[in-house]
Amino acid sequence: MNYFPDEVLEHVFDSIASHKDRNSVSLVCKSWYRIERYSRRRVFIGNCYSISPERLIARFPGLKSLTLKGKPHFADFNLVPYDWGGFVYPWIKALAESGIGLEELRLKRMVVSDESLELLSKSFANFKSLVLVSCEGFSADGLAAVAANCRFLRELDLQENEVDDHRGHWLSCFPESCTSLVSLNFACLKGEVNLGALERLVSRSPNLKSLRLNRLVPLDTLQKLLMRAPQLVDLGIGSYVHDPSSEASNKLKHAIQRCKSIVSLSGFLEVAPRCMSAIYPICGNLTTLNLSYAPGLHGNKLTKLIQHCRKLQRLWILDRIGDKGLGVVASTCKELQELRVFPSDPFGAGNDAVTEEGLVLVSAGCPKLNSLLYFCQQMTNAALITVARNCPNFIRFRLCILDPVKPDPVTNQPLDEGFGAIVQSCKRLKRLSLSGLLTDQVFLYIGMYAEQLEMLSIAFAADSDKGMLYVLNGCKKLRKLEIRDCPFGNSALLEDVGKYETMRSLWMSSCEVTLGGCKTVAEKMPSLNVEIINESDQTEFNLDEGQKVDKMYLYRTLVGHRKDAPESVWIL
């Protein structure tokens, strides 16, 4: 029953931004479904194989912005073959042929070919924004096509992609008429760019707010760019090496000081620590600071820098900061919400690393902390309990102890109690990554307390199937579960196969599930794709049901088996 004309409802729906809410709106009744689908502009697809481009287009003809994610998360850590899939080309092709006026495309962990980029650039007259995160498969040629053909391009944001950019002319391909750039991020490119073209581009982009340079932009260019773009809000410095007493350094200092709007700073891929004082004038405004690619910064220079950043809300740093440095963070950055501490030497001796001390200090000093990614040498239950008490607001808590299965070094106990404290205290916890020595007990706690948990990552943990069962039975909102090297077998996998339809995906590698178990899941649940990834020599591949499966990835889908799987992937 509809008491309002469609336009009114549309207007109301326009103010509903969240995908979840819009999905709920569409379920109310047929007319709401209809109105919602015509008015939907942004769609998020967490697994590109869960739906087809054709069905997307059919349902949302007014689509303007599409976000797609491809490979499973563990692909980041080399656990997924490079040719597994996640190709964007079919999507772009279908969208191009449909006449949809795509304006924004955001991709994560997908394979993007130069051909796709070219097709993209030529098919959508109003295309404005391209964001690629952890993608691969393209070169500077693809970028050149985007630069040349997207006349109203506002955003070109390349984050941590593997790009073959041996030919650096793509920047010069921006036509003189392109003055609409708001965001340009090419920090992940390894090749040179045409510096003159870069300067001219920045000069004619009065709306430019975000600029992230790569390592090969020299200092004098940086200085010129800053002079031309004092309105910048987000700056990524590639190379920051200069002699503090030189003329160039003074000019740079002056240019930096003019940029009073910068609130986000990153980069420093090359840095001479003694030059950091030139940055101090803008530190007081910073809300985001990413020094996780700057191993050259540590010790006093680093802590001095941080002491100037009183408004920091998000800090990404290397573990060279040490526990003491984290103490400085704790006493300085009272507004801190997100902290990520990455390992500077993941495979090394770990002399520079952080321990549970640093985390406790930050938890005590930064009560607003709600998001954590922490690579450390060790962790204790006592520390985790303290952290849980200090910071009950965690939404994301990801702890990685560099030595897997390391217990609490003080008590020699597993870390069950510590993580248990976290899930009990942090009622809004949505994402959790575990590490260290863990038994089934921690999963009991998670199943009992982690009611809002949506994503769980487990490695080298648990004693038996019970662990996995606690989680599957307890966490009602679970969407993504990824497990490696745990003793979970068929009885856990098969206990409740219907559960997997309520989730986006399940990854299990180096566990105890067998081929037979996976086949059973596939038989019982036609709405799931059950993929077995087998990278060994094909002739050895044994079809025995009792054989353990090395890697299994299953996900719900509305469109059945995908057709683009490589030989190493077997869809049951």
Partner: protein, 362 residues
């Protein structure tokens, strides 16, 4: 692809699943006593800590728990230690086939170490005074689980199913090689699940790596590797090309200068200083020494420098005299203004760990 040890592992699973089953539900105690936000009482710690003990052991511990002791499990009499060793070995049986935990011996050793410091600490003390605990406990970086900071790579007791010997040998090259090696490595490790102990101890001294661990994006690892390399070059190029500091030694007639940029570790600096001050110490220059004498004088000097007679100190930017070796090398080079080799007797009061220092490699 399948480990031929499939049968064995399943056996292992079934034989121990019952104790595991018994442990968790019987621990009704554990569920009631969750009290993470208030400070826990010790009984909850004890019982949850020993959740998997059999009935007998549990009773014994409870008796002990009623005594007025504030130690953590394992921090008491030898008797208790044995119980916990037993506990852990019981646990380990089920784990022996999922090579996720170190050997029996491995677990007991650190327990002994924690006895010393854990003895008088209650759980609440641990929470509040963890930093203190760390100072005492963690300085002994000899945890069996943790090979950090030790140059001598003890045969990694951590045996994981996914050791990749191929990767261990290309450690320096990092993940770039890992990507290429991975297909065969995975294969290899699959077949060698329980043979991993042998693999790891025969692998080169480089710490054996587990595929995909730690979970750091390969992009990040590669970029950091390049950045580190470049920064080393950068430090060498920019600024003063060399960092010469004066080195004085008690009793020597004149000073020397060393370029700190020539070294990247304390050990290198230390051996350079040895060489430099050899003639001073022995009151004779190289020309006068006979070969036989030189050998013994070298070792004598080593003994002098590393033994109790001399310590190396430095003056930092604030003008304070500090013992060399405490801070990371990079921090040291940035703050060191001059060096001084002084007699240990003169160095008392500089740092309480002067004796420990002389035992460690500087």
């Amino acid at each position: 692809m399948s480990p031929p040890l499939l049968g064995v592992e399943e056996e292992g699973q079934s034989s121990v699943s019952s104790p595991a089953v018994d442990c968790i539900p019987q621990n009704g105690l554990g569920i009631k006593e969750w009290n993470y936000l208030g400070l826990s009482d010790f009984s909850s710690v004890d019982s949850s800590g020993v959740a998997c003990l059999s009935e007998d052991n549990k009773n014994n511990l409870n008796l002990k728990a009623t005594e007025l002791r504030l130690g953590l499990p394992g921090s008491q009499s030898p008797e208790r230690k044995t119980e916990l060793c037993l506990l852990n070995s019981g646990k380990l049986d089920e784990k022996a086939l999922f090579p996720l935990l170190p050997s029996e011996d491995g677990i007991c050793l650190p327990l002994q170490k924690s006895v010393v410091t854990g003895n008088k600490r209650g759980f609440s003390d641990t929470i509040d005074g963890f930093s203190e605990v760390k100072g005492t406990v963690y300085s002994e970086k000899n945890w069996m689980f943790h090979g950090a900071g030790l140059d001598s790579q003890s045969p990694q007791p951590l045996s994981h199913a996914k050791y990749s010997v191929a990767q261990a040998s290309v450690k320096k090259d990092g993940p770039a090689n890992a990507i290429q090696e991975q297909p065969c490595a995975t294969n290899g490790t699959n077949l060698n699940r329980t043979g991993v102990f042998n693999n790891s101890s025969s692998a080169p001294a480089a710490k054996a790596q587990v595929v995909g661990w730690p979970p750091v994006r390969s992009f990040r690892t590669k970029t950091l590797a390049t950045s580190s390399k470049n920064n080393d070059e950068v430090d060498g190029k920019q600024g003063p090309a060399a960092l010469f500091v004066k080195v004085s030694m008690d009793g020597a007639p004149y000073l020397r200068k060393v370029d700190l940029r020539m070294y990247s570790t304390y050990r290198e600096l230390s051996s350079a200083l040895e060489k430099m001050f050899r003639c001073f110490t022995l009151g004779q220059c190289g020309a006068h020494a006979t070969p036989g004498k030189e050998i013994s004088s070298e070792s004598k000097l080593k003994d002098l420098l590393h033994g109790s007679e001399y310590v190396v100190t430095y003056e930092d930017k604030d003008g304070d005299w500090m013992l060399v070796g405490d801070v990371p090398w990079e921090m040291f080079t940035e703050t060191c203004k001059r060096l001084k080799i002084m007699k240990s007797t003169d160095a008392i009061g500089l740092a309480p760990r002067a004796m420990d220092k002389s035992e460690k490699d500087c």
